[in-house]
Symmetry: C2
Subunit: 264 residues, 2 copies
DNA sequence: ACTGATTTGTGCGTATGTATC
DNA sequence: TGATACATACGCACAAATCAG
């Protein structure tokens, strides 16, 4: 836990020289900005420059003290200011982190994936991970309101926002009627448009369940998060205007990059 | 990893006796049920008898093989069937678990904590962890729609359902008007009733944000979960009929015991 | 970041009982 | 009776995921 190398003995009460920063100020008379404030700006600049990115852990206060040639108390003041600003997050015993810009993913009865994020000037991108026809088990058959063992279409996609993985979604579509979905989605890259091609002009989200769990290895890899960071898992049922279920979806969001917002 | 003691040498091509199970069949001619199916029933019975309870980990397949005097493949078949039924959950590298009955916590515009769970014949219980008057920072002031540094009331409670910790909730109430909340809640054990005592007959949940993260040590302790299991964190804003914000709440649920359900 | 131990997943080979033609 | 196909069961080996140190 060594703070600085100098003045280790308590007898040495007075520093033998001024800290570098004080002599390092602009040539004359200009209103000097406090050291902690300059350090705060430096840290901010370093983050802006990409040295530490959203979610990264800053070096321990001791290391920062060495780097900026200041006392740990001074560092704490700078970090405290940035934390108050909301740029940093300080956690006792863990460290100091650059707060992640969380994406607020709005969910309502008429949530459509594409529209949701386009408002935020984000580039949305879809990668198809799997398309297949499967005989579904009870877990999928129940929400789809079909018999267990029915033939259904499964579509698994990875959605990115600004190039960063946002979520992995599994979509199930019930029965023969939706066999063309596989091809349609590959073409349109949109579930809404694929539905439209099948003559379904409108549909509504009936209910959404939210849970949290840790990712499996492949999920963590695809979402580019550590395996120790939790997922938000939403399960939702979409029905056409007659009330027939036309899709059941399970979506996994990177838990610390995303917040799901429900309006009521 | 000894499977069976017999016939370890590959030179011994022919088993010297019939496997136990085949000679072990019902006395005569009755249609014999396959071993894997009988084992599945045995496991089911053991769970029903309370030998393994919801959330428990079953012994490894090897141990089960020894116990049921069968090959691991046979055990896997039995376990696979029960997993398909939804009674067991198999996780590679971790083990096989009896599925937990997850609590579906319904959220809508008029969600009231007490009413939510009483329907399920659960005993609801509230423990007050903290009550205080605080000058709130930006993070709380913003959703409450008051100035940063305002005096507010903070109430932190641990809610149990059937004795098991369900969630930790922080409630903030804005300004002078709600100073009596501290005492009122201690008396009524209910936010709705406390509001009523203050002349607020009705209020609505305006919006709810859902996120996930790992618990801090004290949260894990209070919720009685390991630190490696994620929390579901909901943040919600409640407003009275005039639209004035009267409460901001942050609630942490045990992620693997709970699913939050939103209707739309 | 690595290691070894634990546990499930998968594939191959063998043997035997059962149903069908 | 025999040929064939399928379901059941055992044995072995290694891959893959998880976890504790």
């Amino acid at each position: 836990m060594l703070e600085r190398s100098e003045s280790q003995s308590p007898s040495n009460r007075l520093p033998d020289r001024l800290p570098d920063q004080l002599s390092n100020r602009p040539s004359r008379r200009l209103p000097r900005t406090p050291l902690w404030r300059r350090i705060a700006l430096d840290i901010k600049a370093a983050i802006a420059a990409g040295e530490w990115r959203a979610g990264d852990k800053l070096p321990p206060e001791g290391d920062l003290a060495a780097r900026f040639n200041a006392n740990r108390h001074t560092i704490r003041r700078a970090v405290g200011a940035l934390a108050e600003e909301g740029l940093l997050l300080v956690e006792q015993g863990r460290g100091t982190f650059v707060v992640e810009e969380t994406i607020n993913y709005q969910i309502g009865a008429r949530t459509r994936f594409g529209e949701n994020l386009r408002d935020h000037d984000r580039k949305v991108d879809v990668e198809i991970l799997a398309v297949e026809e499967v005989f579904v088990g009870r877990d999928i058959a129940n929400p789809l309101e079909v018999a267990a063992g029915s033939l259904c279409v499964r579509l698994q996609v990875l959605r990115r926002s600004d190039g960063k993985p946002l979520c992995i979604a599994d979509h199930w579509f019930p029965g023969e009627r939706f066999r063309p979905m596989a091809g349609l989605f590959a073409e349109t890259k949109s579930i809404t448009r694929s539905f439209a091609a099948l003559g379904i002009a409108d549909y509504k989200r009936r209910e959404t369940q939210v849970a949290a769990r840790l990712p499996k290895t492949w999920e963590a890899a695809k979402l580019e998060i550590p395996r120790t960071r939790p997922l938000i898992v939403t399960s939702s049922i979409n029905a056409d205007p007659t009330g027939t279920v036309i899709e059941y979806g399970v979506t996994r969001f990177a838990g610390d990059r995303t917040a799901i917002v429900f309006e009521s």
